[in-house]
Symmetry: D3
Subunit: 334 residues, 6 copies
C-alpha cells in the first residue's frame, strides 16, 4: 500500500501568537502544501506515502526536504532546481478578526517546473493511490501538464486517483481558465472533494433542483465524469476565528452519507484542516473499506488538525478513532 | 484634517502569556496612554494626528517617541524633560481571574510638566479636533492647567473638543476634587464619553427619572454644559476575563442612538478598548458625518482592538467596516 | 498553626503552547507533586507549611528545593539522597485533543526512600495538620511504610490527618494491592478526598442504594473508618480540553454539603487543580471552621488554579474570596 | 541639510542565535538595504534623510515603511506597487564557520520599478546630498535607468552625489555588464567608496605601479571621472566570523588619509557595517568639513554597527565620538 | 554565624541579548542591590545571611521577596511600605560599545524609609557581621540615618562591620555631601572596600607619597579611622565590554596582599561583580581566617560572577575554590 | 557504501544561554549519542548510515526517531521497548566556569536491552563499516554482549570495525571492569580512537619509552590487537569554556601523522566534538583513501561542530573542505 501526492510545498512564515505583521519581530517557520499535507497525514497514520514536488537546490529546499523526512514522507520523488521556494505569510486572527494570508509564490521552483522533471512511471510504480488538487494546474502550464501526465499514468497503471477540486481565485494567471483545464484531469479521478462553489467555478455545474441541493450537483458531476465514484465535501460552521464546527458529506452515486458536526473551540491552527480531511478519508477508505467510517475518520482527523500548530496533522490513529467514537471531552490522559 | 491629543504616555510592562508577577522572568514592552491611543487609532486609519505629551530626555523617552513615529503619529508636540517615564505593570487574567494593573506613574515627566511646556497656539494651529481625557487633570495641577489652556485655545481657534470623562479613583491626589476641576474643562467640549458612574463622580449628576436612565443623565449634562452636543458611552458585558460583549450608545440631544452588541470571545488584549472606541468615533464623525455610523464604526473598532496585543489599534478601515457590516465570522482571508 | 505534607515532587517538563512532543524544541520547567501542591497552596495563603520528600543531592534536587523556598514552603524535612528526580512530560491539549502525560518516575529518590529518612517525631512536632495522598503508598514499599509511620505519629501527637485517596492505575507495582495497604492508612484520617471510583478501587466499597449514590459510599466508608469525619469530592464537567466546570461535595456524616459549579473556560493549566481544592479546603477549615465555607473556598481556589501555569496555586486569599463571593467576571483590576 | 538615498530594501530573515537553516523554527525579522542603511544612519545621527524605494502595496510593504518611520527616515519618496518585497535569508556564523546569505530578491517591487515611479525633481528638491550604490544598477534595467535620472537631476540641482561602487557577482543578470553602465553613473559622483577589486570589476581599472597600490587605482579613477573628489575604502581584518578589525582610507586627490584599525571582537551583527561606514562618512563630511575626522567618524560608526543587531546603526553621535576619541574599553556607563 | 546586610534592592530590567533600548520588545527581569548581592552570595555559599531593606507592599515587592527566599536569604528584616520599587534599565554592550544603565530609583520605598522601620537591636541579635555600602547614605537622609543607627548598634553588640565605600556621583542629592556623612559611618567599620578614587570623593584623602600609591591612601584612612583593620580594592582591566581582567588587593595595616589577575573573556553579566568580591571576601575571612586566602576566594568568586546572568552569584564554594586553585580552563564537567 | 553505528541515544536537556540549573525556566531539547552522532555526521555528508539503538515505545522514543529520520539516518535498526529514554542535563559554561552535565541514564531502554533485540546479520548485511564506542559496554551486561555479537558478526561479514575507546569513570557499574570486557571487543577493530589515558584505563597499557610518548602506547596496542591498523587521537587545547584549539594525530603502524591545530574561539556547543572527529575520519577514509587527508577532514569537521548547537554536525562536505584548505576566516558567504 502506498500513496503518492503531487503539488507545491511552500514555506509558511507566521507571526507568533496573534501579532499583526507590523508588530512582528519574528516569524514561526512551517512547511506545507495541500497535497503534501495529505502525504504527511498518511505517513503519520502509518500508510507509506511519498510526495512529488520541486524544491530549489539551496538550504531552504534542503530544510523543507528534511521536515518531510522527519515525519516519514518519502522524498525520492522530489526534483531539485529552479530559483526559489514559494512563501506565504500568515497572521493568526482572533475573535472577529480573520487570519490573513499574504502569498509570495510566483516564480517558485514548483511554478517553473518542466513536466520532464517527473518520471511518473517510476514514481507511481507500485502505488495504490495518487492525489492532487486544483491548485497545481492553477499555478502554471508546466504544473498543469505534469498533473495531466500523472493522472494519465496513474490511470494506466491502475492507481486510484483523487483530487481536491479547490478553486483559488488568486491563481489561474498563466493563460487558461479552470474549465479549460480541470475537466480533462477529473476524467481520471475516482474520488473528488468538491463543494457547490467549486463545481460552479471549475466545471460551470450548478444545482438543478429546487432546493439548489449539493446532491443535484453531485449527480451532474458523475454524469459528466463517469469514473468519479465518490464526491466529498465538508461543511464548516464559522463562529469566530478560533471557533468552528465541522461535518462531512459524501455522495457515493446512490446516497448522501453525512457525519455529525464536531465542535472545534479554541482552534490552534486551522490551516491544513481540509487536507487533514482528505488524508483522513484516504486512510479510512484504505483501512475500513466503508465510506461512512472513512468519512467519520476524515472529519475527526480534520477536527484534530485544528488543535495542532503547523501543516502536519500530528495525531495518531488511536487519537482520531477516539474522537470518531465520540470522545471530544479532551479529558487528561495520564 | 488633523487631530491633536494630549495626555500621559506610559510604558506598559506585562508578564507574558498568563504568568503572575511572581512567576515572570520577562516583561513584554508596550507604550500607550488613553489619549495617545486615540491619536494612533486615527493615524492608522489615515487621519493626520499628533500627540502632545512630555517624555524624559533619555533612552526610554526616545524609545517611546520612536514607537509613535512608527505608527505615523506626529511627535512634534512632545516636550522633553523631567525625570522618568510613568510605568504600569500588567498581569493578564484568564477565566474568572481578572487582569491586574500595578501603577508606578508618580513623579513622571508628564506629572511634573509646566503648562509652559506646551505652546497650544502652535500645536493646535490648523487642527480640526482636540481630544483629552479626565485622566490628565487628575494627575497634577500642572497637567490640569495645561488641559485648561489647551481647551481654551482650541475653543478660541474653532477646533472641536472631545473628552473621555473617565474617573480614576486612584488619581486626583494633587489637592483638588474632580468636581472642582472637570466642569471648567467640559464647558469647552463638543463631544464627551461619559458613563452614569462618571457623571456622578465627576459632576455629581445622577439619574433623575424613575428608571434611573442614562438619558436623564445626558439631559442634565447638556443643560449644564450647553456646548456639549454628543454624549457617548459603551456597555461592556463581562462574561469572563477573556470573553466580553460590547455595544455603544450616543445621546445627541434628541435621541438615544444605539448599536447592537458585538461578541468578543478569545480576547487578546482589552487594554485600550475604550480608547479605540473614541478613536473610532472621531474617525467616524469626521468621515461619515452620521452619528449612527460613527458609533457603529467606534464599536467595531473597539471590538477589533480586543484582538490586538498592545495599545495600538492596528486594524485598517476596511477591517473595521467589515465588522461594522456584520462579518464577525473571522473567516480566513487568503 | 502549621501543616505538614509528604509525597513525591517531580520535575514537570511541558511542551510550550500546544506543541506535540514531536514538534517541541523546548520544555517549560515546573516542579510539583500532589502533596507539595497542598503545602504551597497553604504557604501562599499564609498558613505555615512544610513539605517532606526526598530529592537527589544534585543540581536538580537543589533547583527543586529553591522553588519551594521561593514560595515559602518549609524545606527542612527534605531528605537528600538517591539517584534521580522523578520526571513527567506533559503536552497540553486543546479542544477535543486531551492533554497527555508521559511518566518517567521509576527509581526516583522518593521511590527509593528508606522510612528512616524521615524523623516524624521531629517533623510533626507542633504541627496542626498532616496531609498525604494515595500516590505515595502506590510508589514503593518504603514510601508506603513511611506513610504509615507518619500517620501513626501524627495520630499519636494529636495532629489532624487528611488524605486524597486517588487511585492511579499505572502505579502500585511494588507488590501489594491498594486494598492491602490503604485501609490501614485511612484508619488514621480525619478528612479524606475520595470519589466513588476511588472507593471502589481502594476499598472495594460500592454504592449500596438504588441510586448508586455517593452518599451511600460515604456512609460505608465512615462505618469502616470511624475516625474519618469528612469525605470530600469534586465533580468536574469536561466540556473540552480547555473548558471545564467544577463543583464540590462534602459528607460530614450527617448531610451532603454542595457548592454551585464554577465555569472554567480558557483553562491555562489544569494540572494541580485537585491539589488546589485540597489546599483550599484545609485553609478553609482552619480559617472558617465551617464546612460549607471551607468547601466553597476549596472550589474557588481550585477554579483559580486552572488560570495559573504550573503546579503552584499563585492566588491570594482575597482573590479566592472574591470568586467565592460570586465574582467570576474577570473584570480588570486597576 | 537633507540627504536622499535610493535603493532596494529587503526583508532580512535570520535564524536566531547560531542555528543553521535546517535547525531553525523561527526567523528574526529585520529590514534593510545598502542605501537605506545610510539614510537611517544619518537620521539617527540627526541629519534629515529620506529614502526612495519601491515596496509592494501589501502588509509587508507597510511593515517595512513603518520601520523606517520609526527611526526617522523620510518615507515620502517610497513608491508602492509590484508584487513582492525582496527577501534574504541569513544564518549567523561563528568561529571558522562563515555567515551565509541566501537571496530571494528576483522580481521584487524594486526590481520591476519603472523610472517614472520616481519624480526626482521633487524628491531632490532642497537636498544636500544624494547617495546610491552599485547594487541598484545591477538589479534591473529600470533600476539602472532610475539611478541615471537621479544622478543627472542631482547634478543639475547642485546636490552632491556619492556612490558605494560595490560589485555583486550574483546580480547583473538583466543584460548589460557593469562597465557598460557604471561609468556613466560615476561621472556624476563627488565621493565614491571603491576597493581595488571593485575598480577592476566595475571600471576595468587595475593598479599601474609596482606595488599594485590602491593609490595608483585612485589616480586613474580620478582621471577618468574628474568630478570625483574623494575615494574611500575600508580594510577589514577577518580573524574569525565574530572577530574582525576595521580601518579606513580616503584618497582626496592629493594624499592618502588613513585611520588606525579598530579591533572588533564579539561581533553581534556585521551586516550593514559598510553602510554604516558610508553613513558615518557623510555625517562626518557634513559636520566636520574635514576628511580625516569624517573618515575616523566613519570607521568608528562602522565598528559600533558590528555591536548592534539588524541593519540600523542604532548608535548616537556621542557614542561614535567616544570611540573616535579612542575609548574602546566598553566600560559600563551608569 | 550570621551576616546581616542593609541596602536598596532594585528591579533590573535588561534588554535581551545585545538589543538597544529602542529595539527591545521585552525586558529580562532581575532583582539585586549592592548589599543584597553580598547576602545572597553568602547564603549560596552556605553562610546564614539576612537582608534588611524596604519594599512596597504590592505584587512587585512580593515578587522581589520571593526571589531572595528562593536563594536562601533571610527576609525577616524586610519592611513593607512606601510607593514603589526602584528600577534600573540595562542594555548590554558588546566589543567597544559599553553597557548602559538608566536609573529610575527616585522616591522608591527604600528612599522614603524611616529609620524607625528597622529595629536594629532585633535584626542584629546574634549576628556575626554587618555589611552596608556608600550607596545607602547617598540615597536619602532617612537611609543615611538608618545606616548610622545600624552601625552604632552593630558596634555596640560586637558585630563586625564592613562597608563598600563606593561613590556614585548621580546620587547624593538629598542635601549633604559625602564627606559630611561617610566619615561618621566608617568610624564603626572593621573592613572597607575603597579605591583611590573613592577615598578622594568620600574622605578627601589623596595619595601622599611620590608614586601616588594606594598604600599611602590606606595608611591615611587607617589613621583617620582606627577601627578599620582591612582595606580592600579590586583592579579591573577593561579590554572590551565582554572581556575584562580582575585582581584584588588588601592592606592589612602592615602589608599589601595581592592576587594574580584572572582573565575574564566572554563576560555573561558583569553587574554585581564587585558585590561578589565582597561576598567572597566575607566568606573567605569567616572560613579561612587568612586574608590572602580570603582575597583569592573573593577574586575567584567575582570572576565567576561574570559568567552568571543576574545579580545572584550562583556558584558553589567548590567552583570558587577550583578557580582559586588555578583551574580556569572551563573544562567540561561530566 | 553504508555505515552502521550502535549505541545509546539520550535526550539532552540544556538550559538556554548560560543559565545555571537553578535559574532555568526552560530546557532546550536535543537528542544525541556518541555513536549516533557518527551516523548523523556521515548521513549529512551523504554517506548512507543507520543507527542501531533501543528506544522506549512512547512519544519520546518516537520524537527521537523522527529527529534521526530528519537528518537522513536510517532508523530501521532501532528496537522499541523498555521503560525510558536516558536523559542528560547540561548547563553551558562560560570563561572559567565549566559546562556541567548531570546524567539520568540508569534503567534506560538501551541499558535494559537484550542482545536478541538486534539481529546483526540483518543489520550489517551490505554494510561497509561498523562503529561503536567504549560507552556501550560500560552501560550494562546486555549492551556489552550486544557489542560483542555485533563486532563478531561484522568481522565475519568483512565489515570494517571502528571504536572510540573512551573511558567514562561514572559508568562501568554492572559488575565487570573495563579491562575484563574491552580487549575482547578491540580484537575485532580496524580503527580505534584511543588517548593515552584511555589506553591506561581500558587496557592498562602505559607509555614505555622515556618521553612517555603516545607512539609507544600505540605500538603496544597494535602488538596486543594485531587487527588494529590505525590509532587516532585528538588534542584539545583548553583556553576557556568557549575557546579551545584542536588537532589530531593518527598512528598507522609506521608513522605518526599529525594535523595543525585549529583555533576555535566563540564555541557554540562543544558536545559531540569528538564524535564529529570520528564521523569526519570515517568519511575521509572512505572518500580519500588517505590517512593524512582523512585526519585533516576529521579535525576540520570537529572544529566546525563546535560552531553548531546540538549533537548533529550540520555542516556540508564543502564547508569542511574549506576549513581543511585553511580558510578559517569566517568571511561572510553571499
Amino acid at each position: 500500500m502506498k500513496v503518492i501526492t503531487f503539488g507545491e510545498v511552500m514555506m509558511r512564515l507566521s507571526t507568533p501568537n496573534f501579532s499583526r505583521f507590523s508588530q512582528a519581530t519574528q516569524f514561526d517557520i512551517n512547511f506545507g502544501g495541500g497535497e503534501a499535507n495529505v502525504a504527511s497525514s498518511l505517513a503519520i497514520f502509518g500508510i507509506p506515502a511519498s510526495h512529488a514536488t520541486r524544491f530549489p537546490n539551496n538550504d531552504l529546499g534542503q530544510a523543507a526536504t528534511a521536515v518531510y523526512k522527519k515525519y516519514g514522507v518519502g522524498t525520492e520523488a522530489i526534483s531539485y532546481g529552479g530559483d526559489r521556494l514559494g512563501i506565504y505569510f500568515v497572521e493568526k486572527g482572533a475573535a472577529m478578526r480573520p487570519s490573513k494570508v499574504v502569498y509570495d509564490r510566483a516564480n517558485s521552483s514548483f511554478a517553473t517546473l518542466q513536466p520532464s522533471d517527473f518520471n511518473w512511471e517510476e514514481i507511481l510504480k507500485g502505488a495504490t493511490w495518487f492525489h492532487f488538487t486544483g491548485i497545481s494546474p492553477a499555478i502554471s502550464e508546466g504544473a498543469a501538464q505534469a498533473c495531466l501526465e500523472a493522472v494519465q499514468t496513474a490511470s494506466r497503471l491502475g492507481v486510484k486517483v483523487s483530487a481536491d477540486v479547490g478553486y483559488r481565485s488568486n491563481l489561474w494567471k498563466w493563460g487558461k481558465r479552470p474549465n479549460e483545464v480541470m475537466p480533462q484531469l477529473i476524467e481520471y479521478c475516482d474520488v473528488i472533494v468538491c463543494s457547490k462553489g467549486d463545481a460552479a467555478d471549475m466545471f460551470e455545474i450548478k444545482p438543478n433542483d429546487e432546493k439548489g441541493s449539493f446532491k443535484s450537483v453531485c449527480k451532474q458531476i458523475m454524469e459528466r465524469f463517469p469514473k468519479v465514484k465518490k464526491i466529498l465535501t465538508t461543511k464548516r460552521g464559522q463562529i469566530s476565528a478560533s471557533h468552528n464546527t465541522l461535518s462531512g458529506r459524501a455522495w457515493d452515486g446512490t446516497q448522501m452519507i453525512e457525519t455529525e458536526a464536531i465542535d472545534i473551540p479554541d482552534i490552534v491552527d486551522r490551516i491544513g484542516g481540509g487536507d487533514a480531511f482528505m488524508g483522513g478519508y484516504i486512510y479510512g477508505e484504505l483501512t475500513y473499506q466503508d465510506t461512512q467510517k472513512a468519512l467519520e475518520f476524515a472529519v475527526a482527523a480534520s477536527a484534530l488538525k485544528h488543535t495542532v500548530e503547523g501543516d502536519f496533522n500530528l495525531v495518531s490513529v488511536q487519537e482520531v478513532e477516539a474522537v470518531m467514537a465520540g470522545d471530544v471531552s479532551g479529558r487528561l490522559k495520564r
